[in-house]
Point group: C2
Chain length 259, copies 2
Protein backbone atom coordinates (compact mmCIF):
# COMPACT_ATOMS: atom_id res chain seq x y z
CA UNK A 1 0.00 0.00 0.00
CA UNK A 2 1.46 3.33 -1.02
CA UNK A 3 1.50 6.01 1.66
CA UNK A 4 0.88 9.57 0.61
CA UNK A 5 3.95 11.78 1.00
CA UNK A 6 4.21 13.48 4.39
CA UNK A 7 4.80 17.24 4.28
CA UNK A 8 5.88 19.23 7.36
CA UNK A 9 4.94 22.92 7.22
CA UNK A 10 6.19 25.76 9.41
CA UNK A 11 6.69 29.53 9.26
CA UNK A 12 7.77 32.47 11.40
CA UNK A 13 4.63 34.63 11.20
CA UNK A 14 2.71 32.32 13.60
CA UNK A 15 0.02 29.68 13.21
CA UNK A 16 -2.53 32.46 12.70
CA UNK A 17 -0.87 34.04 9.65
CA UNK A 18 -2.68 34.14 6.35
CA UNK A 19 0.45 33.06 4.45
CA UNK A 20 0.72 29.62 6.02
CA UNK A 21 -2.97 28.93 5.36
CA UNK A 22 -2.51 29.80 1.69
CA UNK A 23 0.47 27.44 1.59
CA UNK A 24 -1.46 24.61 3.24
CA UNK A 25 -4.32 25.01 0.77
CA UNK A 26 -1.93 24.04 -2.05
CA UNK A 27 0.12 21.36 -0.26
CA UNK A 28 -2.85 19.22 0.85
CA UNK A 29 -3.19 18.21 -2.81
CA UNK A 30 0.32 16.74 -2.76
CA UNK A 31 0.29 14.74 0.46
CA UNK A 32 -0.56 14.50 4.15
CA UNK A 33 0.25 17.84 5.75
CA UNK A 34 1.26 18.45 9.37
CA UNK A 35 1.71 22.07 10.42
CA UNK A 36 3.88 23.13 13.37
CA UNK A 37 4.20 26.89 13.75
CA UNK A 38 5.13 29.39 16.47
CA UNK A 39 2.19 30.58 18.58
CA UNK A 40 3.14 34.22 17.91
CA UNK A 41 5.22 36.06 15.30
CA UNK A 42 8.91 35.14 15.42
CA UNK A 43 10.35 37.18 12.58
CA UNK A 44 14.11 37.66 12.50
CA UNK A 45 14.77 34.51 14.53
CA UNK A 46 17.19 33.01 11.98
CA UNK A 47 18.17 29.52 13.22
CA UNK A 48 17.76 30.46 16.89
CA UNK A 49 16.86 27.65 19.30
CA UNK A 50 15.34 27.91 22.77
CA UNK A 51 17.89 26.98 25.43
CA UNK A 52 16.90 26.44 29.09
CA UNK A 53 13.30 27.67 28.73
CA UNK A 54 10.44 25.16 28.59
CA UNK A 55 8.75 24.53 25.24
CA UNK A 56 5.10 23.59 24.89
CA UNK A 57 3.13 22.09 22.00
CA UNK A 58 -0.65 22.61 21.62
CA UNK A 59 -2.95 21.25 18.92
CA UNK A 60 -5.18 23.74 17.11
CA UNK A 61 -8.17 22.88 14.88
CA UNK A 62 -7.43 21.09 11.58
CA UNK A 63 -7.35 23.22 8.46
CA UNK A 64 -8.30 21.72 5.10
CA UNK A 65 -7.41 18.28 6.40
CA UNK A 66 -3.99 19.35 7.72
CA UNK A 67 -3.16 18.58 11.35
CA UNK A 68 -2.18 21.83 13.08
CA UNK A 69 0.02 22.53 16.12
CA UNK A 70 1.43 25.65 17.69
CA UNK A 71 4.52 25.79 19.90
CA UNK A 72 6.04 28.37 22.21
CA UNK A 73 9.33 28.12 20.35
CA UNK A 74 11.21 29.54 17.38
CA UNK A 75 10.75 28.25 13.82
CA UNK A 76 13.75 25.92 14.30
CA UNK A 77 12.26 24.66 17.59
CA UNK A 78 9.05 23.91 15.66
CA UNK A 79 10.91 21.67 13.20
CA UNK A 80 12.86 19.92 15.97
CA UNK A 81 9.74 19.36 18.10
CA UNK A 82 7.88 18.04 15.06
CA UNK A 83 10.69 15.61 14.23
CA UNK A 84 11.11 14.33 17.79
CA UNK A 85 7.64 14.58 19.37
CA UNK A 86 4.85 15.14 16.81
CA UNK A 87 5.47 13.22 13.57
CA UNK A 88 5.10 9.45 13.53
CA UNK A 89 7.27 9.07 10.42
CA UNK A 90 9.99 11.05 8.68
CA UNK A 91 8.56 13.78 6.42
CA UNK A 92 9.33 13.73 2.71
CA UNK A 93 9.53 17.51 2.49
CA UNK A 94 9.65 20.58 4.75
CA UNK A 95 7.96 23.75 3.44
CA UNK A 96 8.14 27.06 5.30
CA UNK A 97 6.08 30.20 4.69
CA UNK A 98 4.51 31.79 2.86
CA UNK A 99 6.30 34.62 4.61
CA UNK A 100 4.72 38.06 4.75
CA UNK A 101 7.73 40.02 3.46
CA UNK A 102 10.88 39.49 1.41
CA UNK A 103 13.60 37.06 2.44
CA UNK A 104 15.78 37.81 -0.55
CA UNK A 105 19.46 38.74 -0.44
CA UNK A 106 20.94 39.20 3.07
CA UNK A 107 17.48 39.00 4.65
CA UNK A 108 17.79 35.26 4.32
CA UNK A 109 20.44 35.23 7.07
CA UNK A 110 18.02 36.61 9.67
CA UNK A 111 14.83 35.01 8.41
CA UNK A 112 12.92 32.66 10.68
CA UNK A 113 11.09 31.33 7.63
CA UNK A 114 14.40 30.29 6.11
CA UNK A 115 15.58 29.16 9.57
CA UNK A 116 12.84 26.51 9.52
CA UNK A 117 13.72 25.50 5.95
CA UNK A 118 17.43 25.31 6.82
CA UNK A 119 16.63 23.14 9.85
CA UNK A 120 14.64 20.77 7.62
CA UNK A 121 17.67 20.69 5.36
CA UNK A 122 19.97 20.00 8.33
CA UNK A 123 17.78 16.95 9.05
CA UNK A 124 18.48 15.82 5.47
CA UNK A 125 14.94 16.51 4.26
CA UNK A 126 14.28 18.37 0.97
CA UNK A 127 13.22 21.83 2.18
CA UNK A 128 11.87 25.04 0.67
CA UNK A 129 10.97 28.47 2.03
CA UNK A 130 8.46 30.71 0.25
CA UNK A 131 8.10 34.46 0.77
CA UNK A 132 5.99 37.22 -0.77
CA UNK A 133 7.47 40.72 -0.86
CA UNK A 134 4.49 42.22 0.99
CA UNK A 135 4.44 42.64 4.79
CA UNK A 136 0.70 43.28 4.93
CA UNK A 137 -1.06 40.75 7.23
CA UNK A 138 -3.83 40.62 4.64
CA UNK A 139 -1.47 40.38 1.64
CA UNK A 140 -2.75 38.83 -1.58
CA UNK A 141 -0.90 35.53 -2.06
CA UNK A 142 -2.55 34.53 -5.32
CA UNK A 143 0.61 35.39 -7.31
CA UNK A 144 2.55 32.78 -5.30
CA UNK A 145 0.34 29.76 -5.80
CA UNK A 146 1.50 28.51 -9.20
CA UNK A 147 5.13 28.71 -8.06
CA UNK A 148 4.23 26.88 -4.82
CA UNK A 149 2.58 24.11 -6.85
CA UNK A 150 5.37 23.74 -9.37
CA UNK A 151 8.32 23.93 -6.97
CA UNK A 152 6.80 21.84 -4.18
CA UNK A 153 5.88 19.04 -6.55
CA UNK A 154 9.33 19.11 -8.18
CA UNK A 155 11.17 19.09 -4.84
CA UNK A 156 8.97 16.25 -3.59
CA UNK A 157 9.68 14.26 -6.75
CA UNK A 158 13.35 15.10 -7.33
CA UNK A 159 14.67 15.84 -3.85
CA UNK A 160 17.56 18.22 -3.26
CA UNK A 161 21.30 17.61 -2.83
CA UNK A 162 22.70 17.25 0.69
CA UNK A 163 22.87 20.57 2.50
CA UNK A 164 20.95 22.57 -0.10
CA UNK A 165 17.49 24.07 0.32
CA UNK A 166 15.57 26.61 -1.75
CA UNK A 167 14.73 30.21 -0.91
CA UNK A 168 11.84 31.29 -3.15
CA UNK A 169 10.69 34.92 -3.20
CA UNK A 170 7.64 36.12 -5.12
CA UNK A 171 7.29 39.76 -6.12
CA UNK A 172 4.21 41.63 -4.98
CA UNK A 173 2.86 42.48 -8.42
CA UNK A 174 -0.71 43.18 -9.49
CA UNK A 175 -0.68 40.37 -12.03
CA UNK A 176 0.72 36.90 -11.46
CA UNK A 177 4.47 36.94 -12.20
CA UNK A 178 5.11 35.68 -15.72
CA UNK A 179 8.58 34.33 -15.05
CA UNK A 180 10.57 32.34 -12.49
CA UNK A 181 14.36 32.45 -12.43
CA UNK A 182 17.06 30.49 -10.57
CA UNK A 183 19.46 33.13 -9.29
CA UNK A 184 22.04 34.11 -6.70
CA UNK A 185 21.53 36.09 -3.51
CA UNK A 186 22.23 39.73 -4.29
CA UNK A 187 25.02 41.63 -2.56
CA UNK A 188 23.20 44.20 -0.46
CA UNK A 189 23.38 45.81 2.96
CA UNK A 190 21.06 47.49 5.42
CA UNK A 191 21.70 51.20 5.86
CA UNK A 192 20.77 53.27 8.88
CA UNK A 193 19.52 50.19 10.71
CA UNK A 194 18.09 51.80 13.86
CA UNK A 195 15.80 54.64 14.69
CA UNK A 196 16.88 56.39 17.89
CA UNK A 197 14.36 57.41 20.58
CA UNK A 198 14.53 59.03 24.01
CA UNK A 199 12.44 57.43 26.78
CA UNK A 200 10.63 59.48 29.48
CA UNK A 201 13.64 59.12 31.81
CA UNK A 202 15.93 60.64 29.16
CA UNK A 203 17.65 57.42 28.12
CA UNK A 204 18.18 56.43 24.50
CA UNK A 205 16.67 53.32 22.96
CA UNK A 206 16.67 51.94 19.43
CA UNK A 207 14.19 50.21 17.14
CA UNK A 208 15.22 48.21 14.10
CA UNK A 209 14.57 50.15 10.92
CA UNK A 210 16.58 51.05 7.87
CA UNK A 211 16.73 50.53 4.17
CA UNK A 212 18.13 47.66 2.12
CA UNK A 213 20.73 49.03 -0.29
CA UNK A 214 21.41 46.93 -3.40
CA UNK A 215 25.19 46.82 -3.94
CA UNK A 216 24.92 45.43 -7.48
CA UNK A 217 21.67 46.88 -8.86
CA UNK A 218 22.49 46.03 -12.49
CA UNK A 219 23.26 42.34 -11.91
CA UNK A 220 20.46 40.44 -13.66
CA UNK A 221 21.50 37.13 -12.09
CA UNK A 222 20.49 38.23 -8.57
CA UNK A 223 17.28 37.78 -6.62
CA UNK A 224 16.80 41.50 -5.97
CA UNK A 225 17.05 42.30 -9.69
CA UNK A 226 14.48 39.62 -10.51
CA UNK A 227 12.04 40.75 -7.82
CA UNK A 228 12.35 44.37 -8.94
CA UNK A 229 11.47 43.25 -12.46
CA UNK A 230 8.46 41.18 -11.47
CA UNK A 231 10.26 37.81 -11.68
CA UNK A 232 10.04 35.06 -9.03
CA UNK A 233 13.52 34.32 -7.61
CA UNK A 234 14.64 30.81 -6.67
CA UNK A 235 17.93 30.76 -4.75
CA UNK A 236 19.60 27.45 -3.83
CA UNK A 237 20.99 28.00 -0.34
CA UNK A 238 23.64 26.02 1.46
CA UNK A 239 23.48 25.06 5.09
CA UNK A 240 26.37 22.72 4.43
CA UNK A 241 29.29 24.97 5.03
CA UNK A 242 31.87 22.60 3.59
CA UNK A 243 33.80 24.95 1.42
CA UNK A 244 36.31 24.16 -1.21
CA UNK A 245 39.26 25.88 0.38
CA UNK A 246 39.77 29.17 -1.42
CA UNK A 247 43.23 29.75 -2.85
CA UNK A 248 43.41 32.96 -0.90
CA UNK A 249 43.49 30.99 2.32
CA UNK A 250 46.85 29.41 1.63
CA UNK A 251 48.19 31.44 4.55
CA UNK A 252 45.67 29.72 6.78
CA UNK A 253 47.18 26.36 5.87
CA UNK A 254 50.56 27.87 6.72
CA UNK A 255 49.28 28.69 10.20
CA UNK A 256 49.02 24.96 10.85
CA UNK A 257 52.75 24.64 10.53
CA UNK A 258 53.40 27.85 12.41
CA UNK A 259 51.32 26.91 15.46
Amino acid sequence: MNERPLILVSNDDSINAKGVRELISRLVRLGDVVVVCPDAPRSGQSMAITVNDPLRISPVPDFMGARMYKTTGTPVDCIKLAMHHILKRRPDMVVSGINHGSNASVNELYSGTMGAACEGCAFGIPSVGFSLTDHNPDADFSGCLRAVDLISEAVLTRGLPEGICLNVNVPDTKDEPAELRVCTPCRAHWDDEYKEYIDPAGHKFYLLSGELINDEPDNETTDLWCLKHGIISVVPTSVNRRLIMPETLGWLQALQEKY
Copy 2:
Protein backbone atom coordinates in the same frame (compact mmCIF):
# COMPACT_ATOMS: atom_id res chain seq x y z
CA MET B 1 50.12 59.19 12.01
CA ASN B 2 49.30 55.49 12.09
CA GLU B 3 46.15 54.55 13.98
CA ARG B 4 46.17 51.31 15.90
CA PRO B 5 43.84 48.69 14.42
CA LEU B 6 40.31 48.78 15.83
CA ILE B 7 38.96 45.44 17.05
CA LEU B 8 35.27 44.89 17.82
CA VAL B 9 34.59 42.09 20.30
CA SER B 10 31.32 40.34 21.10
CA ASN B 11 30.04 37.00 22.40
CA ASP B 12 26.83 35.22 23.37
CA ASP B 13 27.64 34.34 26.99
CA SER B 14 27.16 37.98 28.13
CA ILE B 15 29.44 40.82 29.08
CA ASN B 16 30.09 39.10 32.43
CA ALA B 17 31.46 35.86 30.99
CA LYS B 18 35.01 34.80 31.76
CA GLY B 19 35.63 33.82 28.13
CA VAL B 20 35.28 37.32 26.69
CA ARG B 21 37.61 38.75 29.34
CA GLU B 22 40.26 36.18 28.44
CA LEU B 23 39.84 37.14 24.79
CA ILE B 24 40.14 40.86 25.52
CA SER B 25 43.32 40.27 27.53
CA ARG B 26 45.03 39.01 24.35
CA LEU B 27 43.50 41.40 21.81
CA VAL B 28 44.47 44.64 23.61
CA ARG B 29 48.05 43.89 22.55
CA LEU B 30 47.00 44.00 18.86
CA GLY B 31 44.89 47.17 18.76
CA ASP B 32 42.21 49.34 20.30
CA VAL B 33 39.45 47.08 21.56
CA VAL B 34 35.75 47.95 21.89
CA VAL B 35 33.53 45.29 23.43
CA VAL B 36 29.76 45.11 22.82
CA CYS B 37 28.10 42.06 24.38
CA PRO B 38 24.61 40.96 25.43
CA ASP B 39 23.68 41.88 29.01
CA ALA B 40 22.70 38.26 29.72
CA PRO B 41 23.45 34.87 28.17
CA ARG B 42 22.09 34.52 24.64
CA SER B 43 23.25 31.05 23.66
CA GLY B 44 21.58 29.44 20.66
CA GLN B 45 20.59 32.78 19.13
CA SER B 46 22.21 32.06 15.75
CA MET B 47 21.85 35.22 13.61
CA ALA B 48 18.59 36.29 15.30
CA ILE B 49 17.81 40.00 15.36
CA THR B 50 15.43 41.89 17.62
CA VAL B 51 12.40 43.08 15.68
CA ASN B 52 9.86 45.55 17.19
CA ASP B 53 11.31 45.50 20.73
CA PRO B 54 13.43 48.42 21.95
CA LEU B 55 17.18 47.91 22.26
CA ARG B 56 19.33 49.69 24.84
CA ILE B 57 23.07 50.22 25.11
CA SER B 58 24.81 50.79 28.47
CA PRO B 59 28.51 51.39 29.13
CA VAL B 60 30.19 49.20 31.72
CA PRO B 61 33.63 49.82 33.31
CA ASP B 62 36.67 49.53 31.03
CA PHE B 63 38.63 46.28 31.21
CA MET B 64 42.38 46.26 30.47
CA GLY B 65 41.97 49.44 28.43
CA ALA B 66 39.08 48.09 26.35
CA ARG B 67 35.89 50.15 26.20
CA MET B 68 32.97 47.94 27.29
CA TYR B 69 29.24 48.10 26.51
CA LYS B 70 26.32 45.80 27.14
CA THR B 71 23.09 45.75 25.13
CA THR B 72 19.67 44.19 25.61
CA GLY B 73 19.96 42.50 22.21
CA THR B 74 21.22 39.34 20.56
CA PRO B 75 24.85 38.88 19.46
CA VAL B 76 23.93 40.09 15.95
CA ASP B 77 22.15 43.12 17.45
CA CYS B 78 25.38 43.87 19.35
CA ILE B 79 27.41 43.99 16.12
CA LYS B 80 24.78 46.10 14.34
CA LEU B 81 24.46 48.56 17.25
CA ALA B 82 28.25 48.82 17.47
CA MET B 83 28.53 49.55 13.75
CA HIS B 84 25.73 52.14 13.67
CA HIS B 85 25.79 53.75 17.14
CA ILE B 86 28.94 53.00 19.13
CA LEU B 87 32.05 52.88 16.93
CA LYS B 88 33.45 56.08 15.50
CA ARG B 89 35.29 54.27 12.68
CA ARG B 90 35.00 50.96 10.87
CA PRO B 91 36.66 48.12 12.78
CA ASP B 92 39.52 46.19 11.18
CA MET B 93 38.40 42.90 12.70
CA VAL B 94 35.47 41.37 14.60
CA VAL B 95 36.28 38.68 17.18
CA SER B 96 33.58 36.75 19.03
CA GLY B 97 33.98 34.52 22.07
CA ILE B 98 35.69 32.85 23.70
CA ASN B 99 32.55 30.76 23.93
CA HIS B 100 32.00 28.48 26.90
CA GLY B 101 31.22 25.31 24.94
CA SER B 102 31.81 23.78 21.51
CA ASN B 103 30.55 25.42 18.32
CA ALA B 104 31.93 22.71 16.08
CA SER B 105 29.99 20.82 13.40
CA VAL B 106 26.24 21.61 13.23
CA ASN B 107 26.41 23.60 16.48
CA GLU B 108 27.76 26.45 14.39
CA LEU B 109 24.31 26.93 12.81
CA TYR B 110 22.66 27.75 16.14
CA SER B 111 25.60 29.50 17.79
CA GLY B 112 25.22 33.09 18.90
CA THR B 113 29.00 33.36 19.08
CA MET B 114 29.23 32.46 15.41
CA GLY B 115 26.15 34.63 14.74
CA ALA B 116 28.19 37.67 15.82
CA ALA B 117 31.18 36.57 13.72
CA CYS B 118 28.94 35.96 10.69
CA GLU B 119 27.38 39.40 11.12
CA GLY B 120 30.84 40.98 11.16
CA CYS B 121 31.54 39.01 7.99
CA ALA B 122 28.25 40.23 6.44
CA PHE B 123 29.54 43.77 7.08
CA GLY B 124 32.64 42.84 5.06
CA ILE B 125 34.94 42.83 8.10
CA PRO B 126 37.42 39.97 8.70
CA SER B 127 35.76 38.01 11.50
CA VAL B 128 36.58 35.08 13.76
CA GLY B 129 34.72 33.15 16.46
CA PHE B 130 36.59 31.27 19.19
CA SER B 131 35.11 28.53 21.37
CA LEU B 132 36.43 26.21 24.06
CA THR B 133 34.79 22.79 24.40
CA ASP B 134 33.99 23.36 28.09
CA HIS B 135 30.64 24.82 29.26
CA ASN B 136 31.90 25.53 32.78
CA PRO B 137 31.47 29.24 33.69
CA ASP B 138 34.89 29.02 35.33
CA ALA B 139 36.53 27.08 32.46
CA ASP B 140 40.31 27.27 32.03
CA PHE B 141 40.96 29.19 28.81
CA SER B 142 44.76 29.02 28.95
CA GLY B 143 44.84 26.39 26.17
CA CYS B 144 43.14 28.86 23.80
CA LEU B 145 45.45 31.81 24.15
CA ARG B 146 48.24 30.88 21.75
CA ALA B 147 45.66 30.13 19.03
CA VAL B 148 43.88 33.43 19.75
CA ASP B 149 47.18 35.29 19.37
CA LEU B 150 48.27 33.55 16.20
CA ILE B 151 44.93 33.57 14.38
CA SER B 152 43.85 37.07 15.39
CA GLU B 153 47.15 38.57 14.28
CA ALA B 154 47.06 36.67 10.98
CA VAL B 155 43.45 37.67 10.23
CA LEU B 156 44.22 41.29 11.09
CA THR B 157 47.23 41.25 8.79
CA ARG B 158 45.92 39.11 5.92
CA GLY B 159 42.17 39.69 5.99
CA LEU B 160 39.69 37.08 4.79
CA PRO B 161 37.93 36.61 1.42
CA GLU B 162 34.46 38.08 0.94
CA GLY B 163 31.81 36.13 2.79
CA ILE B 164 34.19 33.88 4.71
CA CYS B 165 34.83 33.93 8.46
CA LEU B 166 36.59 31.47 10.75
CA ASN B 167 35.10 29.15 13.34
CA VAL B 168 37.87 28.13 15.75
CA ASN B 169 37.26 25.47 18.39
CA VAL B 170 39.78 24.56 21.06
CA PRO B 171 39.63 21.19 22.81
CA ASP B 172 39.36 21.18 26.58
CA THR B 173 42.59 19.30 27.26
CA LYS B 174 44.75 19.36 30.36
CA ASP B 175 47.81 20.49 28.41
CA GLU B 176 47.83 23.18 25.73
CA PRO B 177 46.88 21.60 22.38
CA ALA B 178 50.00 20.80 20.39
CA GLU B 179 48.40 21.12 16.97
CA LEU B 180 46.00 23.32 14.99
CA ARG B 181 44.33 22.07 11.83
CA VAL B 182 42.22 23.68 9.09
CA CYS B 183 39.29 21.35 8.61
CA THR B 184 35.68 20.92 7.51
CA PRO B 185 32.56 20.93 9.67
CA CYS B 186 31.78 17.32 10.57
CA ARG B 187 28.53 15.69 9.51
CA ALA B 188 26.70 15.11 12.77
CA HIS B 189 23.20 15.33 14.22
CA TRP B 190 21.56 15.81 17.57
CA ASP B 191 19.76 12.75 18.85
CA ASP B 192 16.92 12.73 21.37
CA GLU B 193 16.87 16.52 21.47
CA TYR B 194 14.29 17.12 24.19
CA LYS B 195 13.64 15.87 27.68
CA GLU B 196 9.91 15.58 28.36
CA TYR B 197 8.37 16.79 31.63
CA ILE B 198 4.87 16.97 33.10
CA ASP B 199 3.90 20.26 34.80
CA PRO B 200 1.73 20.39 37.98
CA ALA B 201 -1.41 20.81 35.82
CA GLY B 202 -0.62 17.61 33.94
CA HIS B 203 0.58 19.24 30.71
CA LYS B 204 3.75 18.21 28.90
CA PHE B 205 6.65 20.53 28.36
CA TYR B 206 10.11 20.03 26.86
CA LEU B 207 13.65 21.18 27.58
CA LEU B 208 16.43 21.08 25.02
CA SER B 209 18.79 18.23 25.69
CA GLY B 210 20.25 15.41 23.65
CA GLU B 211 23.52 14.10 22.37
CA LEU B 212 25.56 15.06 19.32
CA ILE B 213 26.08 11.96 17.14
CA ASN B 214 29.09 12.04 14.83
CA ASP B 215 28.00 10.69 11.43
CA GLU B 216 31.55 10.28 10.14
CA PRO B 217 33.65 9.47 13.23
CA ASP B 218 36.66 8.24 11.25
CA ASN B 219 37.01 11.30 9.01
CA GLU B 220 40.27 12.95 10.07
CA THR B 221 39.56 16.09 8.04
CA THR B 222 36.63 17.13 10.29
CA ASP B 223 36.47 19.42 13.28
CA LEU B 224 34.95 16.80 15.57
CA TRP B 225 37.75 14.34 14.82
CA CYS B 226 40.37 16.99 15.54
CA LEU B 227 38.77 18.08 18.80
CA LYS B 228 38.45 14.48 19.97
CA HIS B 229 42.15 14.03 19.31
CA GLY B 230 43.24 17.17 21.15
CA ILE B 231 43.72 19.28 18.01
CA ILE B 232 42.44 22.85 17.56
CA SER B 233 39.98 23.02 14.62
CA VAL B 234 39.83 26.01 12.26
CA VAL B 235 36.82 25.90 9.92
CA PRO B 236 36.39 28.54 7.21
CA THR B 237 32.66 29.26 7.15
CA SER B 238 30.64 30.88 4.41
CA VAL B 239 27.93 33.45 4.99
CA ASN B 240 28.03 34.16 1.30
CA ARG B 241 25.56 31.65 0.00
CA ARG B 242 26.45 32.11 -3.65
CA LEU B 243 26.76 28.54 -4.71
CA ILE B 244 28.17 27.19 -7.88
CA MET B 245 25.02 25.56 -9.16
CA PRO B 246 25.33 21.84 -8.51
CA GLU B 247 24.91 19.61 -11.56
CA THR B 248 22.16 17.80 -9.73
CA LEU B 249 20.00 20.89 -9.93
CA GLY B 250 19.65 20.81 -13.69
CA TRP B 251 15.96 20.06 -13.16
CA LEU B 252 15.68 23.32 -11.27
CA GLN B 253 16.87 25.19 -14.34
CA ALA B 254 14.25 23.29 -16.31
CA LEU B 255 11.57 24.64 -13.97
CA GLN B 256 12.31 28.10 -15.32
CA GLU B 257 11.11 27.04 -18.73
CA LYS B 258 8.23 25.05 -17.33
CA TYR B 259 6.80 27.90 -15.23
